[in-house]
């Protein structure tokens, strides 16, 4: 695997920021996740690692560390030849109901994009998105890979409350609100699958590097999945793949 250059920066007393070239790129993300995987075998469990787009932030809140030493070590580990790694990742198929009652901006979006509503839905569900980061809210995924035809500006006035599960479009991004929240995205549908469950072994089933595809469902199916999710018997459909 050819190497991208990295830069290291001290980030307060507890953290180190590792940065790759500033681009939204699957190849960059793969380098980050491969390196993160390698670091997990080298660093103690007290280190937290937060990957996002072109960065990996290492945080140790428990023990002081010598930044210069860590920096040298991280560079030398990065340059060490590593065997080609097949990261186990998942493609998650998330059902979305594009009923106008949920997709409160769907008509306006279709009009602005000069597309019929079924075409907006077709385009939104025929692409596979990459999780470039998780943040903003617990379980909120930053998804990359939106088709250009669906790029639309965020709303001029954000709503004070966007319902949990709402699926939105904003600029080059699409995403699902994991909880009720204020928000300025254009809402086109709703996903019945909870993206964040604090009582699950892993509160958010998706990880950075995973893929997401939206599957259109009818209202009746939405209600069914919602009940299944509430009683805890619904798990989203997934496929394993190797990056």
């Amino acid at each position: 695997m050819s190497q991208f250059p990295i830069t290291l920066k001290s980030f307060g007393k507890t953290a180190i920021l590792i940065e790759w070239p500033r681009q939204v790129d699957e190849a960059v993300l793969k380098h980050i996740l491969t390196y993160q995987h390698f670091l997990k075998t080298k660093l103690e469990d007290s280190w937290e690692m937060i990957p996002a787009y072109n960065s990996l932030t290492l945080i140790n809140s428990y023990a002081d560390f010598d930044y210069q030493k860590m920096r040298d070590q991280l560079f030398s580990w990065y340059e060490m030849p590593k065997p080609e790694l097949h990261l186990k990742q998942h493609l998650w198929k998330l059902p979305v109901c594009y009923d106008l009652e949920f997709g409160i901006d769907l008509e306006a979006v279709a009009e602005a994009l000069l597309l019929p509503i079924p075409e907006v839905i077709r385009k939104h569900t025929s692409h596979v998105y990459t999780v470039y980061g998780i943040g903003f809210l617990p379980g909120f995924m930053y998804l990359g890979g939106l088709p250009n035809a669906l790029e639309i500006k965020r709303k001029k006035t954000p709503r004070l409350r966007v319902a949990k599960g709402s699926v939105g479009l904003a600029g080059k991004q699409t995403g699902v609100y994991p909880q009720d929240s204020p928000g300025g995205w254009n809402i086109i549908g709703r996903c019945p699958v909870p993206l964040f469950n604090p009582h699950a072994a892993d509160p958010c089933f998706a990880s950075v590097g995973d893929k997401i595809q939206f599957i259109p469902i009818e209202r009746a199916e939405y209600e069914l999945h919602k009940i299944e999710a509430e009683v805890g018997i619904y798990t989203p459909e997934k496929e394993e793949f190797h990056a």
Binding site: G12, E48, I134, F136, G139, F140, Y142, F196, P198
Partner: protein
């Protein structure tokens, strides 16, 4: 149980916070003023991360239903036990039927009630700190009962300490953040020459400051942020992220507060003034 007669303005259970779930977007949470938590737990001979009550601006009314020992630290909100004033940073014995209440806010913004053995609340994702949707409730509510161990006899090795008074401290200690180098020389100078004012938008998530230090047009990709990260918006406003702050952000990270500085910041309220002071950590 500690019965909540009145919850106060914004009272939450907090411990040292929730780590190892930031990569799933879960904020750290925990006490805003870690120094104050550390002090009450030290005096009560609790582990430093034992859960305490974080009380903001206006205190609650709390009824003790079992004997125990308590200690209060942080802001001075005129605490009283059965309406007799009590001191901060001093261990008191309380018996079943005692009532703890608060009065006028004298100094600071957040006060901490520590209890012998710590509050016994279920940990979610490794912490008792209240933060929905991780925990069900945002704050303690009227008529709630908070459980704590009954302790009838405890002789504190140190019954009282004098702490350095940081409640009125003007200076907030910082180091350079990752995007420091993107600032102009004028902006760098302004950062340390300006008296910043805390805006009305200040809470456990973030403190927004009033003054602007000039625009920038650099666009960065979303990346991790920490409690104490000072973000700069394109219009030149500053946002100091606090304990419930989001785990990633797209604004420039120009400064980073030290742990101590986060505690100092946590005691500031709307219209208070602060000045950034650079320190060396390495």
């Amino acid at each position: 149980m500690l019965k909540v007669i009145a919850p106060g303005f914004y009272t939450t259970l907090q411990d040292a916070g929730r780590r190892h779930w930031r990569h799933k977007g879960v904020p750290v949470s925990g006490t805003m003023d870690d120094l104050a938590r550390h002090h009450v737990n030290t005096l009560l001979e609790n582990p430093s991360d034992a859960a305490v009550l974080e009380i903001t601006m206006t205190g609650p009314k709390l009824l003790f239903e079992q004997d125990t020992y308590i200690c209060i630290s942080g802001a001075d909100i005129s605490p009283g036990l059965n309406e007799n004033p009590i001191q901060l940073y001093q261990v008191y014995k309380v018996v079943a039927g005692d009532l703890l209440s608060f009065g006028k806010l004298v100094k600071g913004f957040r006060t901490y009630l520590g209890i012998k053995g710590g509050f016994q609340t279920e940990a979610v994702l490794g912490s008792a700190s209240q933060y929905p949707p991780v925990t069900e409730k945002k704050t303690i509510e009227e008529n709630a009962g908070l459980s704590y161990p009954k302790v009838s006899h405890f002789e504190p090795r140190i019954p009282q300490i004098k702490t350095e008074d940081y409640l009125d401290a003007l200076e907030i200690e910082v180091t350079e953040g990752p995007e420091w180098d993107l600032l102009t020389d004028t902006q760098k100078k302004l950062l340390f020459a300006t008296d910043f004012t805390v805006s009305k938008e200040n809470d456990r998530m973030a403190y927004r400051l009033e003054e602007k230090i000039g625009e920038h047009s650099y666009s960065m990709l979303t990346s991790a942020v920490l409690p104490g990260t000072v973000q700069m918006t394109p219009e030149g406003k500053l946002i100091v992220l606090m304990k419930d702050g989001q785990t990633t952000g797209g604004y420039l990270r120009i400064l980073q507060l030290s742990t101590r500085a986060i505690a100092v910041m946590a005691q500031k309220k709307t219209a208070d003034t602060l000045r950034f002071k650079r320190i060396q950590i390495r």
